[in-house]
Symmetry: C2
Subunit: 218 residues, 2 copies
DNA sequence: CATCCGGGTTAATGGGCGTTAACCACATGT
DNA sequence: ACATGTGGTTAACGCCCATTAACCCGGATG
């Protein structure tokens, strides 16, 4: 019965997970050794096995964890629904941006190392991801008159790629600070969704002008 | 020009590179063994060393190669400049989309396995990437009255994330076909860039948590 | 005081894998 | 016919690394 978790600010376990996430994101799952992870938290090597069944277990817990938190956060924001669908979409975007900005390593892992999981875990993560996407798709379709569902889904995926782009940025401060970055990403996401609407011909060119688009063939 | 698709009978070398790219993208550089790469092209194991100095050399050639082709393609499109800056931006976007759609594995590798390179190669790749980004930044700033350069750069990175999102999509055909996908991505990218413009009324982004950002497309 | 036991330690084990060695079969030009 | 280079082959070497074994120590427990 020593499952004390109450006053534990950062239990050893969480500490390990955090460092593992950072290392995995930096050098890839296969690229980092157990000893390194241990060293990062002050213990060495096989001491990790007092907390986890193995290296795989750490990755699994990380990926399942983030997927669950993302989905839960999304559901919460949808549930407490804003005054309008637009407000809900805003909330979803802000929530995702917080994730992307605060948990970079996890976001990175999320779409990089999924295949290193055991079949069962992988299926679970994929299911959670799918639900998260569908949640967004529903909201987006309520805000924008998007023709087909597959189009909406592709747009959501693309916007995820946009929001998750921060980890790829160069380290130095050549980029906007966190607050401005969040605002910018929000704006970009809205801009993208706003442009998803009609097929050729019809619509209004959102904010841009050259809707010339024409098929890429040119 | 060198759109070599011609009778150039995919030399053994190219064949190896292609399969290696696919495998690296699927399972990560460290996740795939030399024997697998060999098997994928019909020869086995160390036979690869007749064509490459080592596993690292393959990755290096892949990453440097794609970075060069991206930059060259971008420069070409800018050089032959369209009737307007908008046309040039359209061309850049279409070019990048072609890459993302046709060379998925390479696009994936491009921002996933960069750190596995020897110092020299990594520097070279990063330099090419940086030039490619700057090229986009210049064009974007000519099209949109974007306040700061850092903002423009971040926006470009984000749009890259958006355009490169295709590899992350689920395999099955739950998604639009290539032509429609290209058109959609183009539209989304333009929409995002179109939204990058002004600051909120207040000017400096000093404070203010989740800037609710009006800018409702509708 | 004795006993657990959570959380460490270092040493050993064992498999996987990149790379090298040694050897071989053609196709070719002389 | 002969040397030669090209593109393979299989076996062997060595390192790295995840995992396990065996041992240890401090503090609750009782």
């Amino acid at each position: 019965m020593s499952n004390a978790q109450a006053p534990a600010p950062t239990s050893r376990r969480e500490q390990i997970l955090k460092e593992a996430a950072r290392l995995f994101a930096e050098r890839g799952f296969h690229g980092v050794g157990v000893d390194e992870i241990g060293a990062a938290v002050g213990i060495s090597g096989p001491g990790l096995y007092r907390h986890f069944a193995g290296k795989d277990a750490m990755l699994a817990e990380l990926l399942v964890g983030i997927s669950e938190r993302l989905l839960e956060g999304g559901r919460m924001r949808v549930a407490e629904g804003g005054e309008s669908p637009e407000a809900v979409l805003d909330a979803l975007i802000d929530g995702h941006i917080d994730f992307a900005l605060d948990d970079r390593p996890l976001i990175t892992l999320h779409d990089r190392e999924l295949d290193r999981l055991r079949e069962a875990d992988r299926k679970r993560v994929r299911q959670l991801q799918r639900q998260y996407v569908e949640l967004w798709v529903a909201v987006v379709r309520r805000v924008h008159p998007v023709p087909s569902e597959s189009r909406a889904r592709a747009a959501v995926h693309a916007v995820f790629g946009l929001l998750n782009s921060t980890p790829h940025l160069g380290r130095p401060g050549a980029l906007p600070g966190r607050t401005e970055m969040a605002e910018l990403l929000h704006r970009l996401a809205l801009g993208a969704f706003g442009a998803v609407a009609g097929e050729p011909a019809g619509g209004e060119p959102a904010a841009g002008e050259s809707i010339a688009v024409g098929v890429p063939g040119a």
